[in-house]
């Protein structure tokens, strides 16, 4: 969906850039700062001055530039996210053991009532709705959060996560 959005924005930008010269307006240089000394040609009609660089057109351009800038940041973030996910998928071994199906095999959608999923380093619940192709990144996430001592919240319908103190590992 992000790629489609980016493609739409890029297409719109290309169309605008191609359409602008077709308006057949003469080029100009509206003044910007101190160094622009106004010039008036007494021999030309209207002293050689024409239409202004209008506020409406300028603000439309500013809006477009803002969209491009925000879009570029979002696209960069999405690309970095995907790159990290691919890296983890190829480098993280999938979890094994009871409750964790082999890669490629769909697992159950929810844990049995009153029980927590066994995780690779302890009884940590994996993120909900874990699809098979997400097993490696989610395993990496659980391992990382375990190492960092960040305690994810208990999911609804699952047992208490931990007894408190230290890193708060469940059952410790």
């Amino acid at each position: 969906m992000i790629r489609r959005g980016l493609a739409a924005v890029a297409t719109a930008a290309l169309l605008v850039v191609l359409a602008l010269p077709l308006t057949a307006q003469p080029a100009s240089a509206c003044d910007v700062s101190y160094g622009y000394k106004p010039s008036l040609n007494l021999n030309k009609p209207n002293f050689g001055r024409g239409a202004a660089c209008s506020t409406g057109t300028s603000l439309a351009g500013a809006f477009f530039v803002a969209l491009l800038a925000v879009g570029a940041v979002v696209a960069g973030g999405a690309l970095a996210y995907r790159k990290a996910e691919t890296l983890l998928r190829t480098s993280t071994p999938p979890p094994s053991g009871p409750g964790h199906p082999a890669p490629g095999h769909p697992g159950p959608a929810a844990p049995p009532t009153g029980q927590a999923w066994p995780g690779p380093t302890g009884p940590w619940p994996p993120p909900p709705h874990q699809a098979p192709h997400q097993a490696a990144p989610n395993t990496a996430l659980i391992r990382y959060l375990d190492a960092a001592g960040i305690v994810p919240p208990a999911a609804p319908g699952r047992g208490p996560m931990e007894t408190g103190g230290g890193h708060g590992r469940p059952g410790s």
Binding site: Q25, V32, C53, S54, A62, A84, E85, P152
Partner: protein, 492 residues
């Protein structure tokens, strides 16, 4: 009086920092007094000219145009009163030689009295045109956040960037205007009374504007450099390299650009577009949209990066610093002069107006002279980030392998790779909610600060002050690892 970092480890407020701050303030005031003297001694070209040209009110120059280079009399007398009061306090301090907390307070009071009145100039602009100021805030804030995030490793905290921004908006703009307003009057006096045709009078005035542009570029560059160097001294316990200087200089340039944009949006909004072809909206488009990363932000970035390189280099320090200042002056003066020259060249052959002109041609002519400097600043940023990436890998690995480390080997890859770090925070947010993600973000920031300390103190980690700082940073990380979260569930 000496001391380590204060304000929670943020600022190195000690005798050296205060001494440098006082020196910079005294130099600024000395330059202002020289400008004042030259203006007082200028030849008078018209009858009944006031003693100082800043008191001369030209017809049709009230409001926005009058604010461009003039100094309201009330602000002028406040500036003078501040200088007298600051000098009196310095004389008192020289005689009594206060120590301890009293010395600290007197120093900062002196700085406020000497430099504070100049900040009334940009404040008057912003308060007089609040709508124009408000519309400039979103774009400026966006770029400031980009600067903060773009440091990659050993980041200067956002409040420091805001201080640099404030320096640019208040001190650089205020002092720059005060100096240049006097200089413009002095130049007009020494260029002499124009005689003859209207054409020669206009030519004379344009000559004065060219010299004024050069003067403004010079003083702005030195004022930005002063701010960057002062922040280097205040934060010398943190990493100070080309990237640090670049973001501080860019932030100062952004602050200056914001106030200047408000003035130009207002001026061209009220002048009428017949003479200039420009409107307030066009000025906003050029200065706050398409040109926001250029202009004073890019020149400040180049200057700051050069000063950061100079600080790191021992052999070529003066040469690199001078080159950085000269580059910033040349960039600013060259942009104004060349862009205006290109514009004049186009005007001779073509008429004005049109969407293509508004959105492409006119901004292009403004940005073309800046392009080499923008590219150079971008290159310095890229090289600096590469250096920091390598330093991050080394520092994180060293910290993870140290005894009693607060960084485990499993966490190290996530701290050295920004993509993995982003993935971890976003995935935690998606899977476990905002509190867990924010806790992870705080922990990662603390761990990176610890690794940055290891990089900064790699040659002096065993010194008592350095060890104490390392222990403090390590304890902060361990506190965050053990911090109770709102989602923690305790078993019965």
């Amino acid at each position: 009086m000496t001391g380590g970092p204060t304000m929670g480890g943020l600022v190195q407020d000690d005798a050296l920092a205060r001494g440098r701050a006082l020196l910079i303030a005294r130099l600024m005031i000395a330059v202002y007094l020289v400008e004042l003297l030259l203006n007082y001694l200028r030849p008078h070209v018209q009858a009944n000219e006031p003693t100082l040209s800043i008191f001369q009110k030209l017809p049709g120059t009230s409001g926005s145009i009058g604010r461009l280079l003039s100094l309201p009399p009330a602000i002028f007398w406040t500036v003078l009163a501040g200088i007298v009061a600051g000098a009196a306090i310095q004389a008192f301090a020289a005689v009594r030689r206060p120590e301890g907390r009293r010395a600290v307070v007197l120093t900062w009071v002196t700085l406020v009295l000497l430099l504070g009145p100049f900040t009334l100039i940009p404040l008057a602009v912003v308060l007089a045109y609040p709508f124009q100021a408000l519309v400039c805030v979103p774009g400026t804030a966006f770029v400031l956040l980009l600067l903060h995030g773009g440091q990659r490793f050993a980041r200067m905290p956002l409040p420091v960037l805001l201080v640099a921004f404030g320096w640019g908006a208040l001190v650089v703009f205020g002092l720059g205007r005060a100096y240049t307003g006097l200089a413009f009057g002095t130049l007009n006096g020494y260029l002499g009374k124009p005689s003859g045709s209207l054409g020669s009078q206009i030519k004379n005035q344009y000559h004065a504007i060219d010299l004024m542009i050069l003067h403004l570029s010079i003083v702005n560059a030195f004022l930005v450099a002063a701010g960057v160097l002062l922040l280097f001294v205040l934060f010398r316990h943190r990493v100070t390299d080309a990237v640090t200087g670049l973001v501080l200089g860019a932030a100062a340039g952004l602050g200056y650009n914001l106030v200047e944009s408000v003035l130009f949006i207002r001026i061209y909004g009220s002048l009428g577009s017949f003479i200039s072809g420009a409107t307030g909206g066009f000025e906003y488009y050029v200065r706050q949209a398409i040109g926001l990363l250029g202009g004073q932000a890019a020149f400040g970035a180049l200057l700051g990066a050069g000063l950061g390189l100079a600080v790191q280099s021992r052999r070529h320090r003066p040469l690199i610093a001078v080159a950085a200042v000269v580059a910033a002056i040349g960039a600013s003066a060259g942009t104004e002069t060349l862009a205006g020259w290109f514009s004049h060249g186009v005007h001779d052959h073509l008429a004005t107006g049109g969407a293509f002109d508004t959105l492409i041609v006119s901004p292009f002519l403004w940005l073309v002279p800046q392009a080499p400097f923008i590219l150079l600043a971008a290159l310095l940023l890229w090289l600096g980030r590469r250096t920091r990436a390598a330093a991050a890998r080394t520092a994180v690995t060293a910290e993870a392998s140290a005894p009693d480390s607060a960084i485990t080997p499993a966490e190290a890859p996530y701290l050295t790779d920004p993509a993995l770090r982003l993935w971890a925070v976003v995935s935690t947010w998606r899977s476990y909610g905002q509190p867990a993600a924010l806790a992870l973000l705080r922990l990662q920031s603390a761990q990176l600060d610890l690794a940055a300390w290891r990089w900064q103190r790699r040659d002096s980690a065993d010194e008592p002050a350095a060890r104490e700082e390392g222990d403090r940073l390590r304890a902060r990380v361990l506190r965050l690892k053990r911090a109770p979260g709102p989602q923690r569930v305790v078993a019965p």
